[in-house]
């Protein structure tokens, strides 16, 4: 199944990825090739099969709902590209 450049642009926007025109073209070809291979899934009889989203143990243990110390703020903020000692800073979104 082919995927055209307009679809690649749409998916890139949903994925929050800015692509160059060369990338759009290359990814359209490469993703089309992979999707063509994936088409084989459509030929498999899956009627009556329950989807398996997770192959782990069915039950997860509960833990006590207790508060516990978290990482100190300055330690967490230290990794941010831009911060003011209180919060992460981002470009203005409300005028």
């Amino acid at each position: 199944m082919a995927i055209d450049r307009a679809q690649v642009r749409h998916v890139a926007r949903l994925s929050r990825l800015a692509l160059s025109p060369e990338e759009e073209e290359r990814f359209a070809a490469q993703l089309g090739h992979v999707l063509e291979y994936i088409e084989r899934l459509k030929a498999i009889d899956v009627s009556g099969v329950e989807p398996l989203s997770f192959a782990g143990e069915a039950s997860s243990p509960m833990r006590e709902d207790l508060s516990r110390p978290c990482l100190p703020r300055e330690k967490v903020l230290a990794q941010a590209p831009e911060q003011d000692g209180q919060a992460f800073l981002v470009p203005r979104i409300i005028e």
Partner: protein, 488 residues
């Protein structure tokens, strides 16, 4: 032979017998890394300061904590280690200093292991050759023009080149077993849920699992016993007790039933691998195993299902790299522009492809046709294994359809790269444990790996079989020419 050329369990025994000190062992490990890593590029960075302090502490202890006390270990760069740069092979995390240790890192430190550095990998563990690392590929110690496999290629190459006796990696679709096969060491992916993933950078959360590499199966068993077990910080980690895996090796393999799946010996398998694995099966038969033909009819669909499930989960997991809380941020005046440019600059081509493929599969109008259908095929693959395990104790097959391929050979053909994982991916989709052990060489003297697949939480049987085979075969003891030439 020098102690630092010995496999992990014998290094551990030499430390216990005080034939070598942790400090001397660390220095010879660092020396070999310095001598060889210019050619191999297994390491992204060393943690010499921390390692020297840990080795000193180990040598000053009156009683050893356990078998890993004083043993040099290195980590795939996907494990958070407090204050040590952790990048997952990505430009977007360059310079990131985690504020905490992953649970497995904490456990290794508590076991007295000496952590010597962080190892190269495909970006966010997406790849089968380490060529997707933002920091350049790792090379195979058996042939420097070839890949060590991936994504945990640095972890495999470091063990095969005897830089360290043991390493940790992660395996989402074969990222431990395939590189172990391509460099000729042992590598195990435990059952989904056996090892905590807290502090392990996420790729596809229903598939990711932590595991270990060593030259010997007993070494893998020692590492697994140290890292396995429940962790309140990882809801998917199992509360089942952790066996003493090394102790179970003594039980032997007589009477075990092993299944040989016809679908794993078909078209596309390098003939020398077919031959070597079949010879390996005969060794197990002569050790008293009962060999049975079995069928896993849906396994050939695994790659198609995997590249929907894994990319869908990745598209969600990697949404966190937005330039706000950590990592790279592009200069921009608008928020949306900042997100799009940060991610465009920070991610490599394969990561972009997978995020887009996953986003596409989950997007309106395609969900049922791709994601839901892939999950149903996943159920069929798991059902095949359940049926097989009613009559056999383990499945034996090749790890990889080819031996190590040339760097650059598949880098522009994503589908060809994906098909490397055709025998490993079904195991992740089914959540089962798997191990690869060296089982010979092809006519270019490149290593071949044999894969053993087990029932959920039955790592012991796999380790017993792999150990029994390794004792008879002896392939794991062979040194790559690079190490041989560097002198014993």
């Amino acid at each position: 032979m020098k102690v630092d050329l010995l496999p992990l369990s014998r290094v551990s025994a030499a430390l216990a017998a005080r034939e070598v000190s942790p400090e001397a062992l660390l220095e010879s490990s660092l020396e070999r890394i310095r001598a060889l890593d210019g050619k191999l590029h297994a390491f992204l960075r060393l943690t010499e300061g921390e390692a020297r302090a840990a080795a000193k502490a180990a040598s000053q202890r009156r009683e050893r904590i356990g078998p890993l006390d004083g043993v040099p270990i290195a980590l795939k760069d996907i494990f958070c280690m407090e204050g040590v740069e952790t990048t997952a092979g990505s430009r977007i995390l360059k310079g990131y200093l985690p504020p905490y240790d992953a649970t497995v890192v904490r456990k290794l430190k508590q076991a007295g292991a000496v952590i010597v550095g962080k190892l190269n990998m495909d970006e966010f563990a997406m790849g089968s050759s380490t060529e997707n690392s933002a920091f350049g590929p790792t090379r195979n110690p058996w042939d420097l023009e070839r890949t060590p496999g991936g994504s945990s290629g640095g972890s495999a190459a470091a063990v095969a080149a005897r830089m360290v006796p043991g390493t940790l990696g992660t395996d989402t679709g074969g990222s431990i077993r395939q590189p172990a096969a391509l460099v000729g060491c042992a590598g195990m992916k435990p059952t989904y849920g056996r090892v905590s993933r807290f502090g392990v950078i996420a790729f596809a959360s229903s598939l990711d699992q932590v595991g270990a590499f060593a030259q010997d199966v007993r070494g893998v068993a020692l590492l697994l016993s140290a890292i396995a077990g429940h962790d309140p910080d990882d809801q998917t980690s199992s509360t089942r007790p952790v066996p003493d895996y090394a102790a179970s090796l003594a039980r032997g393999v007589r009477g075990l039933r092993i299944g040989v799946p016809a679908e794993y010996f078909g078209e596309g398998l390098q003939p020398e691998i077919d031959k070597a694995v079949r010879a390996g099966i005969e060794v197990l038969r002569s050790e008293g195993c009962e060999v049975k033909p079995i069928s896993l009819p849906n396994s050939p669909h695994a790659i198609a299902a995997y590249y929907i499930v894994a990319t869908a989960e990745a598209s969600s997991n990697l949404a966190r790299y937005d330039g706000v809380r950590y990592g790279h941020r592009a200069r921009a005046t608008q928020l949306l522009e900042m997100y799009e440019r940060t991610r465009a600059e920070g991610f490599g081509a394969e990561v972009k492809r997978r995020i887009m493929l996953g986003t596409y599969a989950l997007s309106a109008g395609y969900y049922d046709a791709y994601y839901l259908r892939a999950q149903k095929v996943r159920a069929l693959i798991r059902r095949d294994f359940d049926t097989a395990f009613a009559t056999v104790d383990a499945v034996v097959c090749p790890t990889s359809p080819t031996t190590a391929f040339r760097l650059g050979e598949k880098v522009d053909d994503p589908l060809a790269m994906y098909l490397n994982d055709i025998y490993t991916v079904p195991v992740n989709l089914a959540g089962l444990p798997g191990i690869s052990v060296p089982c010979g060489f092809d006519n270019k003297r490149l290593p071949i790996g044999m894969q053993l697949i087990g029932k959920p939480f039955d790592e012991e049987t796999l380790l017993r079989l792999a150990h029994a085979y390794e004792q008879r075969a002896g392939f794991a003891e062979q040194l790559p020419p690079l190490v041989e030439h560097a002198g014993r």
